[in-house]
């Protein structure tokens, strides 16, 4: 029963994606004004040749801070999972 429902959901999702494929045309973006701004002014404003890097670290630098934080969070989470094998002591359980 649950399996059938899941498969139904999958079919619906596949349909959604086909609609999506019909909505966009490969090779011609529907709009590009924000990216044209980056390509046009990125070099002068940030003085870097790599426009992707200017976006990653400058125009959207705060996202990149968040992204490094995600990695940091994962490392801390993993360290919490394996803390016992790194010489951690047992704790009083609830």
């Amino acid at each position: 029963m649950k399996r059938n429902l899941t498969i139904l959901l999958l079919i619906v999702f596949a349909g959604i994606l086909l609609v999506l494929a019909a909505g966009f045309t490969y090779g011609t973006p529907l709009a590009s004004d924000m990216d044209d701004y980056f390509i046009r002014f990125g070099q002068a404003q940030i003085a870097a040749n790599n426009i992707v890097t200017t976006i990653v670290f400058d125009y959207r630098g705060f996202d990149t801070l968040g992204e490094s934080t995600v990695l940091f969070t994962a490392v801390i989470g993993v360290s919490l999972m394996f803390r016992r094998f790194f010489g951690g002591e047992d704790d009083a359980d609830e």
């Binding site: 609609v19 705060f62 989470g77 919490l80």
Partner: protein, 524 residues
């Protein structure tokens, strides 16, 4: 004394300070326990102060737009860009400010409580690092005006919560609960990324205000709306997708659970923000409103009926949390359903939205308080099974009083804050559809019945011999609970003032899509 730039950049600093503290925390916390406590408390206090200051300024001076990396913080649209925002923008309007108030209050009291309650555990430096990261991510989620930035903070909160839920690794079940939560959260994140891709592909913008301005409501936008409601309702714990909630809430340490309530409300905030601000009138408001109402009604009813037979005190409270989330969805959903109809909106729609929003802050306060009292009981008694508790009222008087305040507030008994918001929801929803209001009242009565039973089995009865040595919990834990309890009472005694001061501006901000767009794009 405090540098001026801290205040000038308060919205950004409210995220940056906890992040900075979290980055240092593993190093500080590994070597000195006292230093770690002081550091975490300082960071939490600073974050709360910054968030409260931001909220205060937003309530007095209006929406605060902060642009990252521009030459001036308020320069949202560069003059040479032809009227499009290109950088990440924090847009803190009254609704965001309300959420920041919640995070500031609950975050600080929970940290205060946790420093005393969790002092004997292992791996604390990582534990508090995740705590600070979770607070930072919630503040980020509620203040950002950028879709992709919201996704990034959403992911941080997902990872940090999963790590915290799975904190008690030796229990095994906690890791399972964490995994369950994390798979759900990651799936939600992937759906959100789909939404971002669809919207970006059509409108070439990531800023919420810009997207709202360009919104055409094509078929693809409808798909995006469905996906985003699915992802965020799951994360908020509404009923068809609630299966992770009881496990996660029950098995995480109690202080974490109190903060997880706020984290799920941040997702709820996202849901309201996207339906009201991003789509607004372009969506078929009645249909989407009814979807939210139905989600809400199911959550209320299923949550409370599942809660009644529970033996585990935290599991019971977790089901009640689902049920209370239903009230918020019901209130705001009613407002959304009449969005297109100005007459009905003025008659009861605004009040319904205000009631739903008021319930968010009330829920955060009393649910946080209840989870903290549950943690206090478990801290002293050592079991979560209510059948093995009894007669604790003799020894833990303060905890009993706090629990009673929380229980009466959640059941909607005057003069506590739950009553005020529930009354607003009943009154307005009754005008919309009487059946819904009656269901809401019945659920409230069932909640009361459930909590009377819990109160009786935990605190009443003769003193049990095995709990002879039980003492009241340490003072910092009581202080943490006391802050929340005091606010529960204050909000209950002066609901009109709170509504006028905090809630009505937030509800108006949620409804005012053109104002939101105008503060970014400048009167467009």
């Amino acid at each position: 004394m405090i540098p001026q730039f801290l205040w000038d950049h308060a919205p950004a600093m409210a995220v940056a300070v906890p992040l900075l503290a979290a980055f240092v925390c593993p190093l500080v916390g590994k070597y000195t326990a006292t230093g770690r406590k002081a550091w975490v408390l300082l960071a939490a206090a600073a974050t709360s102060a910054l968030a409260l200051f931001t909220a205060w300024r937003v309530y007095t001076l209006g929406t605060w737009v902060y642009v990252f990396g521009a030459t001036v913080p308020a320069l949202s649209v560069p003059p040479d860009s032809g009227g499009i925002p290109i950088r990440i923008i924090f847009e803190v309007d009254a609704m965001s400010a309300l959420m920041q108030v919640i995070v500031a209050i609950v975050g600080f009291s929970v940290i205060l409580y946790s420093l005393s309650a969790d002092g004997k555990r292992s791996g604390l430096e990582a534990y508090y690092t995740l705590f600070l990261l979770l607070i930072a991510s919630i503040v980020g989620m509620v203040s950002t005006g950028d879709l992709f930035n919201f996704f990034v903070f959403f992911e941080i909160s997902g990872l940090a919560s999963a790590g915290l839920i799975a904190y008690r690794v030796e229990a095994g079940r906690a890791v399972e609960a964490g995994l369950k939560y994390f798979v759900v959260s990651t799936l939600g994140g992937i759906f959100m990324l789909f939404v971002i891709a669809i919207l970006y592909g059509q409108y070439n913008a990531l800023n919420i205000a810009m997207l709202a301005e360009r919104m055409q409501f094509t078929v693809l936008d409808k798909i995006a709306l469905v996906l985003i409601i699915g992802a965020l309702a799951t994360k908020a714990g509404a009923v068809p997708m609630h299966f992770w909630t009881p496990d996660a809430y029950a098995l995480a340490p109690s202080s974490v659970t109190a903060l997880l309530v706020v984290a799920s409300q941040a997702s709820l905030y996202g849901l309201f923000r996207f339906t009201f601000t991003l789509y607004h009138l372009s969506l078929n408001a009645a249909t989407v409103g009814w979807v939210l109402i139905l989600l809400g009604v199911f959550s209320m009813f299923v949550g409370v009926t599942m809660a009644i037979p529970q033996k585990d005190v935290k599991r019971l409270m977790a089901y009640h949390a689902i049920s209370q989330t239903g009230y918020m969805l019901l209130g705001v959903g009613t407002g959304l359903a009449v969005l297109g109809n100005q007459g009905m909106l003025d008659a009861f729609g605004r009040m319904a939205i205000a009631g739903g929003i008021f319930h968010i802050i009330n829920h955060a306060l009393y649910k946080g308080l209840l989870f903290l009292t549950a943690g206090a009981i478990i801290y002293r008694v050592g079991t979560r099974d209510m059948n093995r508790m009894g007669g604790l009222g003799h020894k833990m008087k303060w905890t009993m009083i706090f629990f009673m305040i929380g229980a009466l507030a959640i059941a909607g008994i005057p003069p506590f804050n739950g009553f005020a918001s529930k009354l607003m929801i009943y009154e307005s929803v009754y005008l919309f559809n009487p059946v819904l209001a009656i269901i809401a009242m019945v659920v409230s009565i069932l909640t009361l019945a459930s909590f009377v039973k819990v109160f009786h089995s935990i605190f009443m009865g003769p003193q049990l011999p095995e709990y002879e040595h039980v003492k009241e919990v340490p003072a910092p834990m009581l202080l943490g609970m006391g802050i929340l309890a005091l606010l529960v009472i204050l909000f209950g005694l002066f609901p009109q003032q709170v509504v006028d001061l905090l809630i009505t501006p937030a509800a108006n901000a949620l409804l005012d899509q053109s104002g939101y767009i105008a503060s970014i794009l400048g009167g467009a």
